[in-house]
Symmetry: C2
Subunit: 319 residues, 2 copies
């Protein structure tokens, strides 16, 4: 393959703390990557400036060949008119037409914006675990539980761009209180904060667990990464916690599969890095929950792209 003429795109992963921007080849290779502070506490104008800075920096590393455009993955809801609405942790940001604002500084450049979970779904579809699957539910399991739905190799955005909000599927209508105001959302069981709280209770009852030694005996430091580490080290309590969490997530995933006639789910985000134990638990739970015709075809796969999914998916918007 000649690299003398490579089609590229710039992918921007806008987070509350940092902007990660990459120059991405058509095949999904990150040729260059930078990192800028997002200045999310200073209002939209400051954030737009930082995005433009990071894009201009990436442009300087462009190889020969066409630059197809700039894609931006943003937190919050991105509607059909390109407005980014109320992203969490961004100050003074009600709704901002982000592509248009960034475009003022990058004349003539095609610019696309999409929700960050949806970007990660696109990345897995084009370059990751979803390459061989035309239809799947992508789950991003970290602080919260988000998702993106790929139908026929394309993102399903829903009528107004809000599709894929699987974190607030109810798995027990009498269940624990969720930050969204309801009861029993899957996020209220397995979102990072909730999972950590639930784990604290369990470790108190089993203080011999490796989880507690990993945090030096400090309960307030318990979080999913230590559950994963303890599970890897063979800790039974940690394993049971991950299996329970995966089983619960499977209930919500099964609901989506029944409704939308899907068979494949790809699990990304920090907690999913716990690996095989969690993935197997999710898969078994989904299989138990879906209707018979789907059962044998259910596949739950770990995401492949990790932290780069945001950049790759954002670039994928214009590739």
């Amino acid at each position: 393959m000649s690299t003398s003429k490579t089609k590229t795109a710039i992918g921007v992963d806008l987070g509350g703390t940092t902007i990660k921007t990459g120059l991405v080849s058509e095949r999904g290779k990150i040729l260059y990557q930078n990192k800028f502070p997002s200045h999310s506490d200073r209002g939209p104008v400051a954030v737009v400036q930082q995005i433009v800075r990071s894009v201009r920096d990436a442009m300087e590393h462009k190889p020969k060949g066409k630059l197809m455009g700039v894609g931006i993955g943003a937190p919050g809801v991105v509607d059909d008119d390109g407005y980014v609405k109320a992203p969490p942790n961004f100050a003074d940001w009600d709704r901002v037409r982000l592509a248009k604002e960034v475009g003022r500084f990058l004349k003539g450049m095609p610019i696309a914006v999409e929700n960050d979970a949806n970007c990660a779904a696109i990345a897995e579809s084009k370059f990751g675990a979803g390459k061989r699957h035309k239809n799947f539910l992508f789950i991003i399991w970290g602080t919260g539980v988000g998702g993106g739905i790929i139908l026929n190799d394309r993102l399903y955005r829903g009528p107004t761009g809000g599709a894929g909000e699987v974190g607030h599927i109810t798995i027990d209508y009498n269940g624990p209180q969720c930050g969204c105001g309801n009861r029993g959302c899957i996020e209220a069981y397995i979102g990072q904060r909730y999972l950590s709280q639930r784990t604290v209770e369990k470790v108190k009852a089993h203080p011999n667990s490796k989880i507690l030694s990993l945090v030096g005996g400090d309960y307030s430091k318990i979080e999913p990464i230590f559950i994963s580490q303890a599970a890897e080290a063979g800790d039974e309590l940690a394993r049971s916690i991950l299996i329970e969490a995966g089983t619960l997530l499977g209930v919500a995933v099964g609901a989506v599969m029944n409704t939308m006639d899907l068979r494949v789910s790809i699990i990304g985000g920090g907690v999913s890095a716990a690996g095989e134990v969690v993935i197997t638990a999710i898969q078994q739970s989904v299989r138990a929950r879906v209707l018979k015709p789907l059962r044998d075809e259910i596949k739950v796969l770990p995401a492949k792209l990790g932290n780069t999914a945001g950049i790759l998916g954002a670039a994928g918007l214009v590739l």
Copy 2:
């Protein structure tokens, strides 16, 4: 409007006991309707013959103008290749390519087949409560709980034609046993049999309820129609049972709306005939369950077409 030239289609509503077939105008008027036994206990060949008989009978009543084709709504899963798979209560029926089999007897006539719940969704979209809504979740609430999803005025079938199976969405992962083998499916709370059983328990605790007098004191006769009648007559227990059932259904509907970015749900089927009490309960429950941006836009509407939805939707497949 001149009726001298009316585009028409024949809609076939195939049930386990009877076939209802209608000649339907482009505007959704049933110009003629018949009823044949479906002979579902005699195997697919007998059923096909009965369908053909009913269609030929309807054809004789065709006005001037073009007959666009024959649409068939069938129970069971209808896959992308037109196979009708294992419809409940049909003997010796594994999978039958129904359009092809019926077509042998109706040379040159376009024939389409679709799942019956999906047909009812199409009917509401084209001719009923969904005429003004491009995107909605249709629920059919009777013996079981089924559904159909309309996106952009068209049926969303999913990758293999199985979409809309909302009856087995879990609303409590520790909930009561469902016929499908799982626990806590919405159908296990509000499907006709389950709702009746739950009502029997409640009436036993409140034997003064009008429900009991409506069935002449015979608990085994309690079914949803009597709950509705008692509620209409002002019976408090009956009202509370309907409100609870609607609230539970709203949990499942809310999950679909969050996932697919929908705002409208249309409720059909026998139990929904209970009317305003149930519809209001569903709507309040959905509003409480969906994410904030959707909340104020949620509309839950009663279906408009009642028993004719099957015929109209089947005809709608070819209109």
